[in-house]
Symmetry: C2
Subunit: 219 residues, 2 copies
DNA sequence: GTGTCCATGTTGCCGGTGCCCACATCGGCG
DNA sequence: CGCCGATGTGGGCACCGGCAACATGGACAC
């Protein structure tokens, strides 16, 4: 078991969806199956959440027989974990992109604005990619990783910036990350699968603004 | 379809687990199958979350053939919705119980203490009954019901009390419920399936205290 | 060049599930 | 007393996750 140690940053061979014309010699060995399967599984997760990640169907779509997947993943959960990592990475990237978009000449309380932007993007990602977002957290494994990485790392960094900028007393820093994360995550979950589904986009955005404001005030 | 209109507040006949001794005449008609199936399904959800709610197994445990369930539920989702309602009801009840436990002679800011108690119990329930809690929110249907009912209703009432008691400016009331709910729900979810699983109970409680304090401060 | 080995992919199979069908049973009604 | 509709039964289908045995062919030693 534990076959999943191929180089994750694999060469981006476009082996997926090779045109299988009559003359095209179909290779017996796929060459990049693991990565291709993960791509397909991510698509499944995007479309329907964790439950939609189905090994047999993924293999079928990838043009390979079922059971081929078991050469690269111990079981379905192993594949799900990979999808979860992808989801986390994409969420983190979007948050970082959003930060990069912020104008540098922000007057007033720039670090606080960064915190708001990060929180808003967290929710926006969850609403834009509900399936992937849910799958990212559906994985039971605690997502081991260097602290300071992942979405939590981004949030943490921004809070540290607030302390440096004098916008947050240092003695209030411990625990602040968790409060921000919980509020934003809870809002996203309640919007997705909870009782806030019916909110119009405008209402949602207004409520989100209110939430971010209150959270920042309470830090 | 839509057979699910039996009186939900059904008589509590103890038809489950009847001793089927050799002399006990086993009735062809169960008499209370719907309620018994829901009970079993709730047990399944308690044990393993929404995925553990399995129609065939529930029927088996209830001592009835599969397919019998389809006389009472349109499909699995229909049964899940019922489990969800049960979970919501139990959560609400625990919150109300907790409120009732509070001493009436609370000095200082009694309504704020009630808010903290409600929030704490929300998280405690989620941690004590992770499967049922998850299933309660896993149901896609927006949980139609009179506003002011359910866990949200309890929270809402307490916030109204805070306004009446002068502990919360009326202009800050709108949106406060959502912020509280999101923070507490997010904390619970992150503890259950997220990256906060590894926290010891003491750390968790400390973080929860901090969160409740910050949220209250930001209201 | 050639022969071997083993990672990779294939077919076959099993138990389990959700859901549909036709049939069996029984209680209440005329 | 006889019928009928509500309730429960058995069988069947498609699909899934996971094991086992077999097939393929690329890489590497010689």
């Amino acid at each position: 078991m534990g076959t999943g140690n191929m180089d994750t940053t694999a060469r981006k061979v476009d082996t997926v969806n090779m045109v299988e014309g009559p003359g095209a010699a179909r290779r017996y060995h796929h060459g990049n199956l693991r990565a291709a399967l993960i791509d397909t599984a991510v698509d499944q997760a995007r479309a329907g959440g964790a439950d939609a990640v189905v090994l047999r169907d993924a293999a079928r779509r990838t043009g390979v027989s079922h059971n081929a997947a078991y050469r690269h993943f111990a079981d379905r959960d192993d594949l799900l974990a990979e999808v979860s990592s992808r989801g986390m990475a994409e969420l983190e990237q979007r948050m970082r992109d959003r930060l990069a978009d912020l104008p540098a000449d922000d007057h007033g309380r720039p670090a606080a604005a960064r915190l708001r932007a990060v929180g808003r993007e967290y929710v926006h990602f969850a609403l834009a990619e509900p399936g992937l977002f849910a799958t990212a957290f559906a994985c039971g494994r605690p997502e081991e990783g260097a602290p300071g990485q992942g979405p939590y790392g981004v949030l943490s960094t921004v809070l540290d910036e607030m302390v440096s900028a004098g916008e947050l007393p240092a003695e209030r820093r411990p625990g602040a990350d968790l409060t921000c994360w919980a509020a934003v995550h809870g809002f996203a979950v309640l919007c997705l699968q909870g009782p806030l589904q019916e909110l119009s986009e405008q209402e949602r955005e207004a409520q989100l603004d209110g939430l971010l404001e209150r959270v920042a005030r309470g830090l």
